[in-house]
């Protein structure tokens, strides 16, 4: 099985030319620096657009066209929903976890490379709710952190898991490993790289537009690294109204 990375990919020189033409300001990093700086942005609780390698086939973003975040942050879920994806939600996001660490963090010890299996957060990472918190209703209930990974833990402690494997997506695996090195946490929030109603991004231009039209703070496309504060404010888009709601 070759994974679901079956879509288009761009060469580094092509990415640079396309981003330049779109008016983007970026630096070109070595592989190591790219991983290091992206992991640091995640640890600083920044929303990161991650466009690397071939696009996934099918509805799930699996680390090729993903928006990533720090799952330990109690505000990450709300921030991603409201400021990045522009959707209301009673659901938290899904985690990507290093395959070798999955059993330590979730009650499952197997492969789930396509984000299809659901498992509870491991007991030692859960937080017990008070009676008062349990009586809350709907979204209020969801807003109470119930584990050390609040952004990816559902009200019943479950999470829809993607295991990340060094052989099928080495760069994504390296990124999560670097994040673990900084934080001790081998898990990141992974949601598809789009806003509500928009198809997942395909080209470097799509990624740049979505970056400029949302509050994604850092964008990586191949070895190009973009910071929101360095971009020309005139290129910011009123993006969320560009797509019909689903």
């Amino acid at each position: 099985m070759q994974g679901s990375y079956l879509g288009p990919v761009w060469r580094q020189d092509d990415i640079e030319a396309r981003l330049k033409a779109a008016g983007a300001v970026f630096s070109v990093l070595s592989d190591d620096a790219l991983i290091e700086q992206t992991a640091q942005a995640l640890a600083d609780e920044k929303a990161v657009g991650w466009m690397q390698g071939r696009m996934e086939f099918g509805p799930r973003a699996l680390g090729g066209r993903s928006i990533l975040g720090d799952p330990r942050s109690p505000t990450m879920q709300k921030m991603l929903n409201l400021k990045v994806k522009y959707r209301e939600s009673f659901r938290p996001f899904a985690p990507s976890v290093l395959r070798e660490d999955v059993a330590e963090w979730f009650e499952i010890d197997g492969d789930s490379p396509y984000m299809l299996l659901v498992a509870p957060v491991a007991e030692q990472h859960r937080r017990q709710m008070t009676a008062e918190e349990n009586a809350l209703f709907g979204i209020d209930k969801l807003n109470v952190p119930r584990s050390s990974l609040p952004a990816v833990t559902h009200v019943d402690y479950s999470a829809r898991i993607q295991t990340v494997h060094a052989d099928t997506n080495p760069r994504y695996h390296a990124l999560i490993s670097a994040f673990k090195g900084k934080t001790g946490c081998p898990v990141v929030v992974n949601t598809s790289f789009n806003v509500r109603g928009e198809p997942i991004v395909c080209t470097p231009e799509d990624a740049f537009r979505c970056f400029m039209g949302s509050e994604i703070e850092v964008l990586t496309v191949g070895n190009c690294f973009l910071k929101k504060e360095e971009q020309d404010p005139a290129l910011k888009l009123d993006y969320k109204n560009a797509f019909e709601l689903d």
Binding site: G58, L62, P199
Partner: protein
């Protein structure tokens, strides 16, 4: 040997290219047109696949389409015949659309193909496969198993709503089928409609709501609406539904059972009742799926299980291990949380000897051991 697989003109058009059993490229048309769920002829996706494979259309040996238009038309006609004259209003609406678009899908496709490449011998190279077989193939052939049972559960494919296929090496055969209107996907969609969400896209919201509720109505659903047999096969009591004849999913009898009218999304708030309904349909789904999985294991002795189709990929249902008799394998391509599935265009094409088998089946009717 190069095979181009296509899914088009329904929802989420896509193309895939397979060379000597290896998937070279696959993509959905929406990514290129930037129009979500784009159902148009996948012109750009095909161009991408050809470019990725470094070949032209003339190098393609076969083009496989995921569906057989005529089987669907037959279902539509037979449904309306058996429910006449109650079904006339939806018959009036649906039939002209089918006549215009679906029945002549092959012609429509031919026209699109001609527009795409005038001189290519499309009809000589075109193969059609049955919807459920496409689903089953999309799970089994890329799976790590040499042999496996394949459970496909879908809203409605052609006639089939639930099927068991057995795969071994390069062969894949349907062993059993449940037919429309007995469909777990449609039951899930009925509750989706009843709780005020959009059918065919709101199913994932119902699944997401379920953990906020208690499955208080699961007993009632199993008691009145769906009759589950010991082997997991089931029968839906049609007196609660309106999808066979009307233009809505459920009727007043359905609402009376649970004591509340259909929620109007624009004015009625979501309450604990709706969360309990969501938890209940989720519990019923899991109950049926686990029963099916266990009976498949018992009956076939298969150690491996592949899952396909929208309902089968309701991910919560399949994570209830160790209740599941085998660790299931499912492909990433169908939309997993709703009955809105994307029958991957990979299927028939994934391994060459299988193509011949599937082609051989196209003329005949799939035999069903269970009605």
């Amino acid at each position: 040997m190069k095979i181009l697989g296509l899914s088009a003109l329904y929802h989420d058009s896509a193309a895939a290219l397979i060379e000597d059993g290896r998937i070279i490229a696959a993509a959905q048309e929406e990514r290129f047109t930037r129009k979500k769920h784009d159902a148009a002829f996948p012109r750009l996706a095909i161009e991408y696949c050809l470019a990725e494979a470094g070949c032209g259309l003339n190098d393609i040996d076969f083009v496989v389409f995921y569906d057989k238009p005529f089987l669907k038309f037959e279902r539509l006609l037979e449904t309306y015949m058996s429910f006449a004259p109650r079904g006339f209003s939806s018959f009036k609406t649906a039939i002209p659309v089918w006549l215009k678009e679906k029945l002549f899908q092959k012609d429509l496709l031919a026209k699109e193909f001609k527009k795409f490449a005038k001189d290519f011998d499309w009809m000589g190279k075109m193969l059609f496969t049955e919807h459920h077989l496409s689903h089953a193939a999309s799970a089994f052939f890329p799976s790590p198993f040499q042999d496996a049972a394949v459970l496909t559960m879908d809203g409605v494919g052609e006639w089939t709503t639930t099927s068991l296929a057995m795969g071994a090496g390069n062969s894949l055969e349907i062993h059993k089928e449940l037919h429309f209107p007995h469909s777990l996907g449609l039951l899930y969609s009925a509750v989706t409609y009843y709780t005020g969400f959009k059918v065919n896209s709101g199913e994932y919201k119902v699944m997401g709501l379920a953990p906020y509720g208690e499955p208080k109505y699961a007993g009632l659903i199993l008691d009145k609406i769906v009759d589950v047999k010991a082997d997991g096969s089931f029968h839906l009591d049609q007196s609660y539904f309106d999808y066979c004849t009307g233009l809505t999913m459920t009727n007043d009898t359905f609402a009376d059972v649970f004591g509340q009218p259909v929620r109007q999304a624009d004015k009625d708030p979501l309450t604990q009742f709706h969360m309990d309904m969501a938890a209940s349909i989720q519990a019923v789904t899991e109950h049926i799926v686990l029963k099916l999985a266990r009976s498949i294991r018992q009956e076939t002795g298969a150690r491996n299980l592949c899952l396909a189709g929208g309902v089968a990929l309701n991910c919560v249902a399949f994570s209830r291990r160790p209740a599941m008799p085998a660790v299931p394998w499912a492909p990433p391509w169908p939309a997993i949380t709703s009955t809105r599935t994307n029958p991957a265009p990979l299927p028939a094409a994934a391994r060459m000897p299988c193509r011949a088998r599937i082609w051989g089946r196209c003329g005949g009717k799939t035999t069903s051991k269970r009605g």
